[in-house]
């Protein structure tokens, strides 16, 4: 019987090695991992120490910088800049109207077009957004949820038009609707109707797009909305279990879709708690997937995740200090074994980042990757008394939360997640935690440098900020008008009518028709309205 170390050695030996000198600055050789012979090794169930045997010795994390503003042409330019600067993957930020599935010329879109991200109304915008970028090579992430199925359909249509077959496309659709009701609040349809669209995208990608991650189950926004680290972890994994139960209920075998589920966590400033959170996430996911959902493929059990540093930890006062915060948070993500990372820019408490601020944020990752040598060793904090104890405690508290959600759903995590939303349970807990933190800051029990302590220097001149003018909104409306003028309206009307009929039949997968609607240059707003006429709208009861 081989020991865990021997099993690990065999796997490590078979993995590729990146070209670097694995030694300290003094020349002391560095092993790929440290730990007792019979302990848990990276790449071994329950994957506390990492999903892969070789971790960053094979490949560094992907430096995936989130970007998007103005029109598709503006963002396409920024994407190319990111690729030139050494970013390994694209991550698309959409503007508020797009996130809520309305067109740039909708009265509700006034003042919001191109502000928080790029405006996408039709396939024409998608074509410009990824123009001259080889989507068969670069992986693409799209942060979109309520209209995820529609934007994804436009993405597939655009890539195929550019000659890249859908099976070659690699990337991630956020598509995590549950956390929208819980935290991010960009919801459109009611929860159950939205979950049908998630089911359709999971079924579509498992059948046709083997390189695509259908859902990026996101704790990031839960944390940003004010949850604790434990709540972020527990709510996120519980949502993950809900998607698994959704796909199982649709008749998909667990190992046919679970390897393409991925996660997205926050990296906040409490360094060790964050690392413990990532380690606990991998362990919990592995156990539940194997023991509760019967997964047999190890890839179904491996929790792989993207990390973004905490936007809420950034201060508007002395914004340069945010570079230091972001560096510490990014380091936690790396020591926690993240697969990809976005680092926030110092100016993001005030505006979208300038090009220079975004470059400094990317360079921060490059310093961690290339100067610190921390990527030499997998799970370098494994075995630390503190980190191991914290990992165990985070896991224990998360399990308590799962038990509550399961009870809400009378044994079903899917039902529990939806009930918890409908009863405002998640929302209430997040607000309570946000308020509790605010209280500590106000009482000075939690220090934020430059905000409630060490404020000398706050009056100095501010750094330059990116300004987005209303010209972008005008330009986008003109672009949309031009598309409406040149498309064939009869084709658009016919496909939208078919979409309405199919939406009313929950047995039908809507993805093929959504792709056809995109190809006909139906707008996002038209497609969402067609579905909305069948699905209805979600309205949240306002509480505080």
């Amino acid at each position: 019987m081989p020991t865990p170390r021997e099993i690990w050695e065999a796997e490590f030996g078979a993995a590729p090695r990146r070209d670097a000198d694995f030694e300290t600055m003094s020349g002391i050789p560095v092993e790929p991992v440290y730990g007792p012979e019979d302990g848990e090794f990276p790449g071994q169930f329950p994957y506390t120490r990492g999903p892969y045997a070789s971790m960053y010795r094979s490949r560094l994390w992907t430096m995936r910088m989130f970007a998007g503003f103005g029109t598709a042409e503006d963002t396409n330019w920024r994407f190319k800049e990111i690729i030139r600067a050494g970013g390994g993957g694209l991550s698309t930020a959409f503007d508020m109207p797009t996130l809520l599935g309305i067109d740039s010329d909708d009265p509700m879109a006034l003042g919001e077009v191109g502000r928080c991200g790029v405006a996408v109304d039709t396939l024409a915008d998608m074509e410009d957004l990824y123009a001259d970028i080889d989507l068969g090579e670069v992986t693409t992430s799209m942060t979109i949820n309520s209209p995820a199925a529609v934007i994804f359909a436009m993405f597939v249509a655009q890539a195929e038009k550019a000659g890249i077959p859908r099976a070659r496309l690699g990337g991630t659709l956020q598509n995590d609707i549950l956390k929208e009701y819980q935290a991010q609040k960009e919801f459109v349809f009611p929860p159950r109707q939205s979950m049908r669209l998630v089911r359709d995208t999971i079924a579509f990608t498992s059948a046709e797009m083997p390189r695509w991650h259908s859902v990026s189950i996101s704790g990031y926004h839960i944390r940003e909305a004010g949850s604790t680290a434990v709540e972020e972890l527990a709510f996120t994994l519980a949502n993950g279990f809900a998607y698994v139960e959704l796909a199982l209920a649709a008749g998909l075998p667990v190992d046919s879709f679970a390897p393409r589920l991925s996660f997205f966590f926050n990296a906040h400033i409490d360094f060790f708690e964050e690392i413990a959170k990532y380690r606990a996430a991998r362990r919990i996911w592995a156990r539940w997937m194997r023991d509760r959902y019967g997964a047999e493929d190890p890839r179904s059990m491996q929790c792989r995740f993207h990390t973004q540093t905490a936007g809420v930890s950034l201060a508007a006062q002395q914004p340069e200090l945010n570079i230091a915060r972001t560096a510490i948070e990014a380091l936690a993500g790396v020591l926690g074994g993240t697969q990809s990372l976005h680092t926030n820019s110092m100016d993001e408490a005030m505006a979208l980042p300038t090009e220079k601020a975004a470059r400094i944020a990317l360079r921060t990752q490059q310093i961690i990757a290339n100067e610190t040598n921390v990527a030499h060793v997998a799970d370098p904090l494994g075995g630390s008394h503190y980190v191991e104890a914290l990992t165990d405690e985070v896991e224990r508290q998360a399990e308590e939360i799962f038990a509550h959600i399961e009870e809400l759903g009378s044994g079903s995590m899917l039902e529990g997640a939806i009930k918890g939303i409908e009863e405002n349970w998640f929302q209430g807990r997040i607000t309570d935690s946000a308020f509790e933190l605010e209280r500590k800051v106000n009482e000075g029990r939690r220090i934020i440098v430059g905000v409630n302590a060490f404020t000398e220097g706050n009056e100095e001149e501010q750094i330059p900020l990116l300004r987005i003018t209303n010209e972008d909104e005008q330009r986008q409306r003109k672009r949309l008008d031009a598309v409406r003028d040149r498309r064939d309206q009869t084709t658009v009307d016919a496909v939208l009518e078919r979409l309405r009929i199919e939406a009313a039949d929950p047995e039908i997968n809507l993805m093929p028709t959504l792709i056809e609607a995109s190809q006909a240059y139906a707008t996002l707003g038209e497609i969402m309205s067609a579905m909305g006429s069948v699905f209805g709208r979600h309205v949240e009861v306002p509480t505080f």
Binding site: M96, L110, K185, E224, N442, I468, P542, T543, F544
Partner: protein, 133 residues
């Protein structure tokens, strides 16, 4: 004077509601009567609610960058109803926008990092100025 009524609102498409909820609780704990509109309001629905509820001030939470369009629109909507209710803005507002917001009739702007005490003092100042005028 406790018990004054304040309407806190989210206008437009911005769903970030952490700030508005925390501020609502801070004001409630300070003795104000707080009404929260919920998400996705328009300038018209906010103004209508403010007049119907006979509030003493309106607080808008804005984090998406649309404040230059939407905040003045709320002031206009309130005035067009013949009401004189001060409108405050809290959220991500760059310094270079402050002057124009003041010119558009916004009574106060609270930016990231404002403490509970600063928020209460500023609301108090706006309400007292209103009473004095």
């Amino acid at each position: 004077m406790a018990g004054e009524r304040i309407l806190v609102a989210k206008v437009g498409l911005d769903g970030h509601d952490r700030g508005v909820k925390v501020v609502a609780r801070i004001l409630r704990d300070a003795g104000f009567e707080v009404i929260y509109t919920g998400l996705f309001q328009t300038p018209e629905t906010v103004a209508a609610a403010a007049v119907d509820e006979d509030v003493d001030a309106i607080g808008l939470s804005m984090l998406s960058g649309a404040h230059m369009t939407l905040a003045p629109a709320v002031v206009e909507a309130v005035r067009s109803r013949g009401a004189d209710i001060p409108v405050m803005v809290g959220g991500i507002v760059p310094d270079h926008d402050l002057e124009e917001l003041t010119a558009a009739g916004i009574s106060a702007v609270l930016t990231p990092g404002s403490t509970a005490e600063q928020i209460i003092v500023e609301v108090r100042r706006v309400l007292d100025a209103e009473t004095a005028s």
